[in-house]
């Protein structure tokens, strides 16, 4: 795509690609001890967070977790009860929403219904009193960027959902904000369009070099889009990390459960040595062997979390002696690319496993009511203490 010289291209240098790993890089947004109360309800509870330039940061959480309130405080629509927000070194405490270097893309898009597309997109520039010729030029530049050339004269009511979403994006980007806040940007689109738009959003973000903060409840969306994800739970940040980190190394049961699906085996520490732990799990009906140390006390209650795709499911008894669970297939869901097997263990727990359908119909497929064996690689699971 051709970009104008005004929209400065940012080439990501590998050494600065992960500034959060580099202690010397100054964060672009500094949130310190931020709290927001609505009456007695604490929506955001003592959140501290650093976000770096050119990041595409996702705030992920269920409804009511405080992610939208946090975003609205960044935009200046809500005043923090306590704490500070700093954007590009500037304290935002006394900066009104219309004077902040941020723009927001609203979940409902909030397009002005009485203005056509060009007027909507150019709204922010008209408020700044720019000359008409420059506004027209930048509007058509923006419409080109979001692939809506020739749509300038249409009213929002004459557009499809996907087109409205692009108009909202163009309108939010036209003032070249330092920070773009996106509230559920893809929430109103259907699945297919959402997947296409995700990549477009990343391309635009990379080509413009704007820092994005995205609020979403869709974990897949967060995984695809983000450089890092902040998982939120009842007003606090439960974990911050890169998508892979949050998925493979969740720190709490909440995070493990919220991102993707997971099988959780409760148990107690049976044997604790510096580089191996044995967990006695009633859920699994066996002793679970973990090949690394865990900071825990003897007999402490903890959880072993295993993703469905980490299981090996076989009809015959495997050679391994450790970490093998026997169960009966209760349900099978054929999803095309993969199949989900729900396996009932002897202890009564239902386990979810996923197997890629590599062949077109195996010779002896695993079927309902069949006894199967589940195993996993020693390091496939995560031990959680909270």
């Amino acid at each position: 795509m051709e970009t104008s010289p005004q929209l400065h291209m940012t080439q990501l240098d590998p050494s600065t690609q992960k500034p959060w790993l580099n202690g010397d890089v100054k964060p672009f947004i500094r949130i310190r001890n931020l709290t927001k109360k609505f009456g007695d309800v604490v929506a955001v509870n003592n959140v501290s967070l650093d976000i770096y330039e050119n990041e595409l940061f996702s705030l992920l959480g269920g409804s009511g977790c405080g992610k939208s309130t946090l975003l609205r405080m960044l935009a200046g629509f809500e005043t923090p009860t306590e704490g500070t927000i700093e954007i590009d070194g500037q304290d935002m405490s006394h900066v009104a929403a219309h004077e902040r270097p941020t723009n927001m893309m609203f979940q409902s898009y909030a397009l002005f219904p009485h203005m056509n597309v060009a007027k909507n997109v150019g709204y922010g520039l008209r408020r700044d009193g720019l000359p008409k010729a420059e506004i027209d030029e930048r509007v058509s530049e923006m419409l080109k960027l979001v692939q809506l050339e020739g749509y300038g004269k249409r009213k929002p009511s004459q557009l499809s959902g996907g087109q409205r979403q692009r108009v909202a994006l163009a309108r939010a980007l036209i003032k070249r904000p330092k920070l773009l806040l996106l509230d559920e940007p893809l929430g109103a689109l259907d699945k297919k369009l959402r997947e296409e738009t995700q990549f477009e959003l990343i391309n635009i973000q990379e080509s413009l070099g704007v820092t994005f903060i995205v609020v979403t409840h869709d974990q897949e969306e967060a995984m695809t889009l983000s450089t890092r994800i902040g998982v939120m739970d009842i007003g606090t940040i439960a974990q911050i990390g890169e998508p892979q980190e949050v998925y493979e190394f969740p720190q709490t049961r909440y995070v493990a459960d919220f991102i993707g699906s997971v099988n959780m085996f409760e148990g107690r520490v049976k044997k604790d040595s510096p580089n191996a732990v044995i967990i006695d799990s009633v859920d699994a009906g066996i002793d679970i062997h973990v090949p690394h140390g865990v900071s825990c006390s003897p007999n402490q209650k903890l959880w072993f979390a295993l993703r469905p795709e980490k299981f090996e499911i076989t009809a015959t008894k495997p050679k391994a002696t450790k970490n093998v669970i026997k169960g009966v297939v209760e349900d099978i869901a054929y999803l095309g690319g993969q199949s989900v097997y729900l396996v009932r263990l002897s202890g009564g727990k239902l386990v979810r496993t996923v197997r890629a359908n590599r062949d077109r119909g195996a010779e002896k497929p695993i079927t309902w009511e069949q006894t199967v064996y589940l195993t996993w690689a020693p390091s496939a699971g995560v031990v959680l203490t909270a």
């Binding site: 200046g76 219309h98 004077e99 941020t102 723009n103 909030a110 002005f112 009485h114 700044d128």
Partner: protein, 299 residues
Amino acid sequence: MMSWFHRQLAKHGRNLVIAVPMIWLIVFFLAPFFVVFKISFADIARARPPYTPLFSFEDGRLLIALSFENYAYLWDDTLYIKAYWSSIKIAFWSTVFALLIGYPMAYVIARASDTKRNLLLMLVILPFWTSFLLRVYAWIGFLKTQGVINALLLKIGIISEPLIMLQTDFAVYVGIVYTYLPFMILPLYANLTKLDNTLLEAAHDLGASKLMSFLTVTLPLSLPGIIAGCMLVFIPAIGEFVIPALLGGPDTLMIGKVLWTEFFNNRDWPVASAVATAMLILLVIPIMWMRRAAEEEVS
């Protein structure tokens, strides 16, 4: 298997539903209008009813006697033109004042908290529970030379002798604006309460100050409410009779009063009918214009 009745209902159900209000309008609006329209082409007569018949049969032939004299008379006698002009002027300025007072009120009500909003709406509607006539009389008590307002101003010492307010155009404006204010507030409220708050946030986010977001978002989006409110005030205000009769002076010229005089004092039904017909035509023009403006706004 559908019965004949059901099939007919499915076929004509839509028309049936529309037919009820249509019949109502034809019987109670269109038919009386044609009676008035017909009388406006007759001549005055000492008879009962006091006008000449339009149609008569003589030697088995139908005679139609149309007289355009009444309309010519409206044009020739400057009283009528003046009365129309004065009515439009009074109705126009009353509408402007009602809008200027009503818009902020409707805005505040629409933005108030739920409990407050119901109370405020109640206060707007409350005057309707007492007779309109009584309320206009109450204004006489306020505005007259020894009235409440003069007594108060004299006591404070702002004025040394009472102001003459009653039986002036000022009193007519006060009466009309007061009476029709709820008709301005309610459609505006209905419109403003629908306004999506995120639109204002979006405007704010894009650099608009509070005033600017009002001017560029709230105001244009409330245009249908403004048009509806203005129509509901302007149209009845043009034909208003009671308020100028009670609060206005002898020089207050309004078409409603002229109409009354023609009908009941002069017993000149044909001229009175012509006055009424001309007024209707006068009103239809702004209604059509405003409707078109509203439709353009929607599309």
